[in-house]
């Protein structure tokens, strides 16, 4: 089960009554965030999930409305008693930006591991970005991306392990500076078949080890691997997140089959399309088009222009394209469960 909380829904600047867009996820007691604009620690406190369990903060890009809240949040996380490393993950330039912002929080009680994700070939480069990653928080290497542009000119998507059975993928967004969209994936192994285990005379005490993916050496000398008693990998939980961007083929592929897509809709009215093109953002119906083309389960809109006072007024423009669209609101929260249910880990 993946807990999801959309902390804020604003773009550009925090407003009275609208926090800046940020996402909070919780899985197996660990938490990660995407983006941290000015004030994000306030809805984080309101969400009530605590600060100490935050293990990773992803950044789509380094415009102030997506990262200016980092120094304050780091201090608040420090006050929460956290003393284990915090991973910061984002496009190239992260190390330089984080090192600069740390000028106002020089002493933190935990380590920061900054991981710069290499941009796929052809994506815009960041002027003055530092080259190397400051740490090895996520298992990413720069070379893997350079091996070609397959899949209609798109670089291959790679799965980066996070923790437990959670991983992420990313793709370049189409914004005026380097920007990434993310999808988070909780993998789910195949169901356990007790009948097969009995056929193979595997003692009961070894079943849980096999279910946990471990190979078991039996007393009679046989070696039993998980695939001998598990069915094929089942569909897991996938959530995708995108802001700031124009629609793009790479996004459609990244979002494919997500249970939930959280996507920017800077402007509500279709008449704002030219404005959105100029500013490298999307109108509601464009986000809905991405949701439809990617076959996602549900779409939440976010990252509204400060001029868009009542996003709900324009939801019809999105729903005509993709009916299961919701105008995201601050602290909108849900739980995503495995498609076959949380409890069905044993096949009968």
């Amino acid at each position: 089960m993946l807990d999801v909380c959309l902390l804020g829904t604003g773009g550009m600047m925090p407003l009275p009554g609208r926090w800046l867009t940020s996402l909070l996820l919780r899985y197996n007691g660990k938490m990660l965030m995407v983006d941290c604009g000015e004030g994000t620690q306030i809805p984080l406190k309101l969400a009530g999930w605590g600060f100490k369990p935050i293990d990773a903060i992803f950044f789509t890009h380094y415009h102030a409305d997506h990262i200016a809240g980092l120094p304050g949040l780091l201090l608040t996380i420090g006050n929460s008693g956290k003393d284990t490393p915090l991973d910061l993950i984002g496009p190239p330039g992260l190390t330089r930006v984080v090192q600069s912002l740390l000028v106002i929080c020089p002493a933190l009680p935990f380590d920061i591991r900054a991981t710069e994700l290499p941009l796929p070939r052809g994506a815009p480069s960041l002027r003055g970005a530092s080259g190397g990653a400051a740490g090895t928080g996520a298992n990413v290497d720069g070379e893997a991306e350079a091996d070609g542009e397959r899949d209609g000119g798109l670089a291959p998507l790679r799965d980066v392990a996070l923790f437990d059975s959670m991983s992420f993928q990313y793709a370049p967004a189409d914004h005026n500076i380097p920007c990434l969209a993310y999808s988070f994936h909780i993998r789910r192994q195949g169901a356990f078949y007790p009948a097969r285990a009995k056929e193979l005379n595997i003692p009961l005490k070894s079943w849980s080890l096999l279910q946990a993916g471990k190979t078991v050496e039996l007393d009679d000398g046989r070696s039993v691997t998980p695939d001998m008693v598990l069915g094929p990998e089942r569909r897991g939980i996938k959530l995708s997140y995108c802001t700031d961007s124009r629609p793009a083929p790479a996004l459609r592929r990244l979002f494919k089959d997500s249970a939930l897509l959280i996507c920017e809709g800077m402007y509500g009215d279709d008449g704002e399309r030219e404005n959105a093109i100029g500013k490298k953002h999307m109108i509601f119906s464009e986000a809905a088009g991405l949701a439809r083309d990617a076959g996602v389960g549900e779409l939440w809109l976010t990252h509204y222009s400060p001029a868009l006072q009542n996003p709900g007024e324009h939801i019809g423009a999105a729903r005509r394209v993709f009916p299961n669209t919701r105008a995201g609101s601050d602290l909108l929260t849900t739980k995503l469960i495995f498609p076959e249910g949380e409890g069905a880990d044993t096949a009968r």
Copy 2:
């Protein structure tokens, strides 16, 4: 008349329902602020005085809860259409801190003039602070401070011109990093004496020039100076602001005869005194003692600990020491007028 708005009253971190401590002043259509923590632009918007008229931002010190809101505010000021220079003023280290924070707002449509105020001799120095000021926003020179420690070991207070008849003074606070307290002063010239002007046969058309402090050359060849028709300088408006600090003699002198003192009270209960000493903050009754000793008109408490949920509960501890104390609250606003009234510029 000086418009005063206490934008927030929190210390350490912004909370749901409590913005970080920051002060907004408006005089003659120009605005200045003191401190800008994370989220301060939100109560600024709520105050409704606009962003474009902000001409100067003072900083007491560079802990994140006093400056982390700067990048976002600079961008919002930029969006307001401001294209005239913005003065940033604070203790040594300002240039380095501001240059670091500008990494997330590299392109602003106005110039920034950073002025580092030299610390009086004996004040703690900032590790790694850059030496020079980046601009000459306020008329401050480093040498003037070095000419001795008079007045019971205290460096002399100097008046630094701001605009119109407004100026400021500053003194070192007693905190764990270099920190300044400020007083803002609107000077008021003496009343104009029509009877003297008539005695001197000064034509009516020259009266307003003399009232404005200008010397007038009359048609008959005489030169008339303002002091010939104006009384002695009258008491103006003085407001003082202090956070974060322990009580100190230099503060008592800086605050002297302020109409309003806005002063930190991190903890309400007298039992927290040892805690306050350790963390270089004040309890309510210590702030009240400063107010009493400095002979101020009114005291507003601010910069409450996040653990202090209801500051009003402890107001009695302060009022026993200084009765005219108020527990500051977010967006608490007042107007300070000249002691003799705003309209009495002409003596009869």
